[in-house]
Subunit: 357 residues, 2 copies
C-alpha cells in the first residue's frame, strides 16, 4: 500500500527500525536524555520564544487540545474560536465542556478566514483565540499572520492547533506571539500515532502555574515538572518517543525545519500540477502544504477512496460525515516521493479510462 | 539488554515485526475487524460476564483508571479504596480530584489485605470498591476472592485495576462480579506501552450511560459507541493495537488465558527458587506471578539496579520515592525464558563474589 492519508503517514526506515526493537526501560538517565533532546528540538523547530517548554502526552492530538484548554483557560476567559471544519468544531465542543465562554466564527467548507470576519470582535473584551491553523478536515490553512496581528492588537492568548501543519507550513511561534502550539507524532513527524506534543510559551506556563485542571492524566503542571528531568508522570509510549527522537535529529542534520517544509511544499506543488485535467475541483481557497482536498465532480469521493484501496493498493484520505461523498484528501506528509505521486495520478487516470471517475 | 522490569517488557518477534511495518490507515473495515477481534478476545480472557464490553484508550494505565472513575462514579457514591502502595495512592488521588467520597484502607508495604481490615466497613452505606489487585509498586497480590465476597454481600460496584496482573494471575470477572477490569498494553500483553484497556460489565455500562464526565478525551460513552463498529473517536495508537491483536490471537491458539498464566507462574516460581541463598528478603507476603519484589539486606536496591544495567546489560525494576534504596523488583512478564533468569541469577552471584551485595 502507498499511504497518502493525513495520518498515520509513512515512516522512513530508521523510524521503522526502532519500531522493530525492544522498548527499553525508561526510568533511566538514558531515556531522560532522549526526552530532553526531544524538548530542545521541538522548541527549535516551532521557533518558540525564549523560556518556552514542551511536553509529550501519550494520547492523540485531541488529548493535547483538551489539556491545553483545561490548563490554560478558565471560566474567566472569553475566547474567540474559528470553526471551519471537524477540528474547529472540536475546539468549540471542548470550550463548552470546560465552560470557557466563547464566540464562534463559523466558516464555510474550504473558505479562508478574512479580516472582515474578525473586525466586529476587534477592541472587545476577549482574552483568548483558538485556531486550527490547518483545518485538517477541509485542507484550509488560515492566515496566521493576520490572526497574530489581531491577537497582538487585542492582547489575546493565542492557542494554535498545528497538528497537521507543523513542519509542513512556515510557523514562527516567537514572531507570531503564540502562547501554545500543538502537534502530533503521526503527521509530518512521520512516526506512529500515540504521542501529541504541546509547546508552551512563558505566558502559557504562567497560566498553567495558576490553573487547576480537574484531571490527573491531562495535568500539565505535573507533565512539565517531570519533563524538567526528561521524565513523564505515567508510563509513556516509550517506543514512539524514541522514534520521534530519531526523526527530530534527522530533520536537524538535514537543514532544519525550513528544509523539511520546502520538501513537503515541493511534493504538494508537484501533485497539484499533475492532477490538472482530472475531474476534481480544489476545495480549499487557502491550501496548506500538508494536504490537497479535492471535490470529485463525476463520482463519489468515498467510492474513489474504496476503489483506490481495493484495486490499486493506495490509501487516500476519505472525509467523514456530510463530506463523505463530496470530498477526499491527498496528503503530502511522511516518507513520500514524486514517484509515489506518479503512481497515484496514473491510477486516477486509469480510473478515468475505465469510466469510474 | 535483558529486561526484567514490570513494563515495558520484552516483546516477541511477531509483535516486533509489526512494529517494523508501516502503520496502516485505520478508518477502514480492515482495521475495524481487528478492533472487534481485540474486544472479543479481551472479554474472553478477562472471563467477562455476558453483555460486557471493552474499550481501548490511547494512553497509559492511569488514563484508564481516571476514565473509569470519571465515567462510573459520582459524588453520590461512597467508595472503599485500598491503598498499599503507589497505585493505591493514585486511586485515592483520583477519587479526590473527582470528588467521589471515599474511605481509604492504608496497608503497610508488602502486607496483605485481611478480613479484619474490611470488617468495620461491612454493612455500611458504601456503594463502590476500588482495588489494584496487584499493587505493582510492592508486588502484593490481594485476595480478590475475599474482596469479591465482601462486595457481593454489600452490593458494591467493584473496580479492579489489573494492569500488571491480567494474564499473570487467575482472574474471572464474571465469577468475581467485578464491574470493571483495567489493563495495559505493556504488561503481560507484552506490547509497547501506549494503550490501556477497560473491560466493563453491564452494571458498569449502565453507570457509563447515565454518567456525565467533564472530559472529551476520557469519555467512555463516546469510546463505546465508536467501538461498536471497531473504531475510536480519535486517532489511536494504531500500530500498538495491531500488535495487541497478534498477541491476543497467539494466546488464544496456544491454549488461552490459563495456559498463559501457568507459563508466567512457572517463570516466577523458577526465579524464586534460584535466588535462595542470595541476601534478599521477599517483600510481599502475598505475591503476584507478575513480579517478585525484593529487599536487599547488604546493599542499596538502586545501586543494584544501576550496576546490573551498566555492567551486566540487565534491567531489573527499581522502586521510586521512599522505597528507592530498599526495594527492587524482578518481573516475570513478557518474552522471557528460564535461561534469562539463569543469567540474572549468575550476575547477582557474581556481584556477591565481588562484594557488591
Amino acid at each position: 500500500m502507498i499511504n497518502f492519508t493525513v495520518g498515520p503517514v509513512q515512516s522512513n526506515d530508521e523510524v521503522r527500525t526502532i519500531g522493530s526493537e525492544q522498548v527499553p526501560y525508561f526510568r533511566t538517565p538514558e531515556f531522560s536524555k532522549i526526552m530532553l533532546e526531544n524538548e530542545r528540538l521541538m522548541l527549535k523547530f516551532s521557533k518558540a520564544p525564549e523560556g518556552s517548554r514542551a511536553v509529550f502526552i501519550t494520547g492523540s492530538g485531541t488529548a493535547s487540545m483538551e489539556a491545553t484548554i483545561m490548563n490554560t483557560l478558565t471560566k474567566d476567559d472569553k475566547a474567540i474560536v474559528i470553526n471551519g471544519g471537524s477540528f474547529g468544531h472540536r475546539f468549540v465542543e471542548l470550550l463548552s465542556i470546560h465552560e470557557v465562554p466563547y464566540t464562534e466564527i463559523k466558516i464555510d467548507v474550504g473558505k479562508a478566514l478574512i479580516a472582515d470576519m474578525l473586525a466586529p470582535l476587534d477592541g472587545k473584551s476577549y482574552t483568548a483565540f483558538l485556531i486550527n491553523v490547518h483545518e485538517t478536515s477541509t485542507g484550509v490553512h488560515y492566515d496566521i499572520n493576520m490572526i497574530s496581528e489581531f491577537c497582538k492588537r487585542n492582547r489575546l492568548f493565542l492557542i494554535v492547533d498545528a497538528i497537521s501543519s507543523f513542519l509542513a507550513d512556515n510557523f514562527n511561534m516567537a514572531e507570531l506571539g503564540a502562547g501554545v502550539m500543538i502537534t502530533g507524532s503521526q503527521k509530518a513527524l512521520a512516526c506512529p500515532p500515540g504521542i501529541s506534543i504541546i509547546v508552551l510559551s512563558q505566558d502559557a506556563l504562567k497560566r498553567v502555574e495558576i490553573g487547576n485542571p480537574k484531571c490527573m492524566y491531562l495535568d500539565l503542571k505535573d507533565a512539565l515538572k517531570n519533563q524538567e528531568h526528561g521524565q513523564t508522570p505515567f508510563t509513556p509510549a516509550v517506543g514512539t518517543l524514541r522514534q520521534i527522537n530519531i526523526r527530530l535529529k534527522e530533520i536537524d542534520v538535514n537543514g532544519g525545519v525550513d528544509t523539511e517544509t520546502e520538501k513537503i511544499a515541493a511534493l504538494a506543488k508537484y501533485f497539484r500540477e499533475q492532477i490538472r485535467g482530472l475531474p476534481f475541483v480544489l476545495v480549499s481557497e487557502s491550501m496548506s502544504n500538508a494536504v490537497t482536498s479535492l471535490h470529485p465532480t463525476t463520482a463519489s469521493a468515498y467510492d474513489i477512496f474504496t476503489i483506490l484501496k481495493d484495486e490499486y493498493g493506495i490509501w487516500i484520505c476519505p472525509n467523514g460525515g456530510g463530506m463523505k461523498d463530496t470530498i477526499f484528501r491527498v496528503g503530502h506528509l511522511g516518507c513520500l516521493t514524486k514517484e509515489d505521486y506518479d503512481k497515484l495520478v496514473s491510477s486516477l487516470k486509469d480510473m478515468q479510462v475505465r469510466g469510474i471517475i
